[in-house]
């Protein structure tokens, strides 16, 4: 095969003619045609699986549609109902907001703390890294959600351990006051993925900075505050945006832990769970589509706010 042997040719020989600059239009037309062929599946997917459904869901959000009858145009009714007449919607929004606001910072704090401990010259780093990362891979699965339901059940592991100390624990997942807390804990448990991103970020900080600071007499805390944190802000920002987007869409955990109902007393009725119940249990597809659009706006809004706020705290320094 000729094209295998060329790989060893001296580089200079190949570069010149191809980069000549005067490509014939015939050639570029051929290239464009090839490109569109390579992209064909993606284009079809974009149209049929993504863009088409986006517009369809926008349209549906203004209708009353149950899959059985024709969609009926109702204008903004779905959106108005949501915010004025549907306490379950509002409570799902509240539950999800609490979940995101509490669990994301906690998770990132854990991730950063562990990354700092693991970063500098510690033996067995890769083993620790793997152990802490494993829950991130498993965390979204039904099996782990089932485990959680059992660990925090009235007669679960947590209460069995507590009873050794003579404490009678509540039925965590069955108690509206603590059910959401167990899901937050599950999310925090998966801190390994952002931890790895933090570790990669810490690697980028030149150690000469620390050495110089140490020479100038800066202590541990001072170095952390003035070097590590500022240089890490882009990574913190990246993780924050990613986790907020992701956790707003959490579904499996709440579904399994609450037995598909969001209970007790709607305390684990995540936004996406309510959307699922509306759209695919009571077949109010127009309403579900409207909820999806509100979710899109919330996520887009939060991401935009994150980006705007980042100007004030994210430090790009000499990396630009």
């Amino acid at each position: 095969m000729t094209d295998v042997s060329v790989a060893v040719k001296p580089r200079g020989a190949a570069t010149q003619p191809a980069r000549g600059g005067h490509r014939s239009t015939k050639r570029s037309r051929r290239e464009a045609r090839a490109a569109y062929l390579f992209l064909a599946p993606w284009f079809v997917g974009l149209l049929v699986i993504t863009i088409g459904p986006i517009f369809a869901s926008l349209y549906l959000s203004f209708t009353d549609y149950s899959l059985l009858e024709e969609a009926k145009w109702v204008g903004f009714d779905n959106y108005i109902t949501m915010f004025t007449e549907d306490p379950r919607f509002l409570s799902s929004l509240k539950v999800t907001t609490i979940y995101v606001v509490v669990s994301v910072p906690l998770q990132l704090a854990f991730a950063l703390a562990l990354a700092l401990v693991l970063d500098r010259g510690l033996r067995g780093l890769s083993i620790y890294r793997s152990i802490f990362y494993l829950p991130s891979l498993l965390g979204g699965s039904v099996a782990i959600a089932i485990l959680w339901r059992k660990v925090f059940g009235a007669e679960g592991l947590v209460n069995a351990v507590l009873s050794i100390f003579g404490i009678q624990g509540p039925g965590w997942v069955g108690d509206p006051d603590t059910a959401l807390g167990t899901l937050i804990l599950l999310h925090v448990w998966t801190f390994g993925a952002p931890m790895i991103i933090f570790l990669a970020g810490l690697r980028q900080i030149p150690s000469s900075y620390y050495e110089a600071a140490a020479v100038d007499g800066a202590g541990v805390w001072r170095q952390f505050k003035s070097i590590t944190i500022p240089l890490l802000t882009p990574i913190i920002f990246f993780n924050l945006v990613l986790e907020v987007i992701k956790s707003f869409q959490s579904f499996t955990q709440a579904f399994i832990v609450s037995g598909g109902k969001g209970g007790p007393a709607d305390s684990t009725l995540f936004y996406t769970l309510y959307l699922y119940l509306k759209g695919f249990k009571s077949y109010e597809m127009g309403y579900a589509a409207a909820m999806a659009w509100v979710l899109l706006l919330i996520i887009a809004g939060l991401t935009a706010v994150n980006f705007l706020a980042s100007k004030y705290w994210v430090f790009y320094g000499d990396t630009k």
């Binding site: 390579f38 997917g45 010259g121 699965s141 707003f248």
Partner: protein, 288 residues
């Protein structure tokens, strides 16, 4: 690039004793983290009545009864659901590898009108919440009479809608020296040939990352499988596991844990085999 040989800054160069404390704390913390998992494994091996009574990990009595019971507890033996999951997952992996690498090659190496525009659209779809499109997608697949088939699960992968992976591979291909393509081109190779013979073989790390993550995500995926598979005859593992909760009272933990362990098995296997790619994939792209 990481510089492994860099000196350890003063900040984190503690006394020898300090290091011991650090390791002890880390190991302790790791154990606490893994405790629920280990407990599930140990519980799956305990006779039913001991699960509650022993929060400890070491089973005083080992039995495989939970596994045999759980295997036959649902409508079909559990292997049936494992097979269904395996089919969906294998097709998804192959589809993602082919479709995403085709698109990535075009974005990374070829010039065409509106390239920047399409690339921006592609990036935009990464951020799009899945829920915005599930209602119309469901309606579409239901109109096409494809509910209770694997098509709604596999079709999106065939059509490269996991833009994450397109992006991942674009980034990777961009790091490959262009001279290789150009040399092959001078030798008369067409784009297809360059893609197959030159670019793809060099893309192995990116392809491995894509394959492993697609495997794990598809295997774990619950929402789409819950939506599209309503008939116990084509349930996959996550949907089947879930029926344990409906069907069984809280007394049959053992079998449920046993099947949960089996469900996690393949992920755990891929984790052990592909750690390097997994860690790198997360570190460089934020895939997780």
């Amino acid at each position: 690039m990481a510089t492994p040989s860099r000196p350890i800054p003063v900040l984190f160069r503690p006394l020898k004793g300090g290091r011991l404390v650090k390791h002890t704390l880390l190991i302790g913390f790791g154990l606490v983290m893994l405790y629920p998992l280990l407990w599930m494994i140990s519980s799956s091996l305990k006779p039913e009545e001991l699960i509650f009574r022993e929060p400890g990990l070491w089973p005083s009595q080992v039995t495989l009864e939970n596994y045999t019971q759980g295997w036959y507890a649902l409508k079909h033996p559990f292997g049936y659901y494992l097979w269904n999951s395996a089919v969906v997952t294998a097709l998804s992996v192959v589809a993602n590898l082919v479709a995403c690498s085709l698109a990535a090659y075009a974005f990374a190496r070829l010039n065409f009108p509106l390239k920047k525009f399409w690339f921006a659209i592609m990036l935009g779809t990464i951020m799009l919440p899945h829920h915005v499109v599930i209602v119309p997608q469901y309606i579409m697949f239901s109109e096409l009479d494809l509910i209770n088939t694997i098509w709604p699960l596999v079709m999106p992968k065939v059509l490269a809608t996991d833009a994450f992976f397109v992006f991942l591979m674009v980034q990777f291909i961009r790091t490959l020296p262009r001279e290789l393509d150009e040399a092959a081109e001078i030798d008369g190779a067409g784009y297809w040939r360059i893609f197959i013979r030159v670019v793809m073989p060099l893309c192995m790390p990116a392809l491995a990352t894509t394959a492993i993550f697609t495997f794990i995500w598809t295997w774990n995926d619950f929402l789409s499988q819950l939506l599209y598979l309503n008939n116990p005859d084509n349930f996959t593992v996550p949907v089947a596991l879930r029926t344990f909760l409906d069907a069984s009272s809280d007394s049959s933990w053992g079998p449920m844990f046993a099947m949960s362990i089996i469900a996690l098995g393949p992920i755990f296997g891929f984790f052990l085999a592909g750690q390097k790619y997994l860690i790198r994939g997360v570190a460089t792209t934020g895939l997780k």
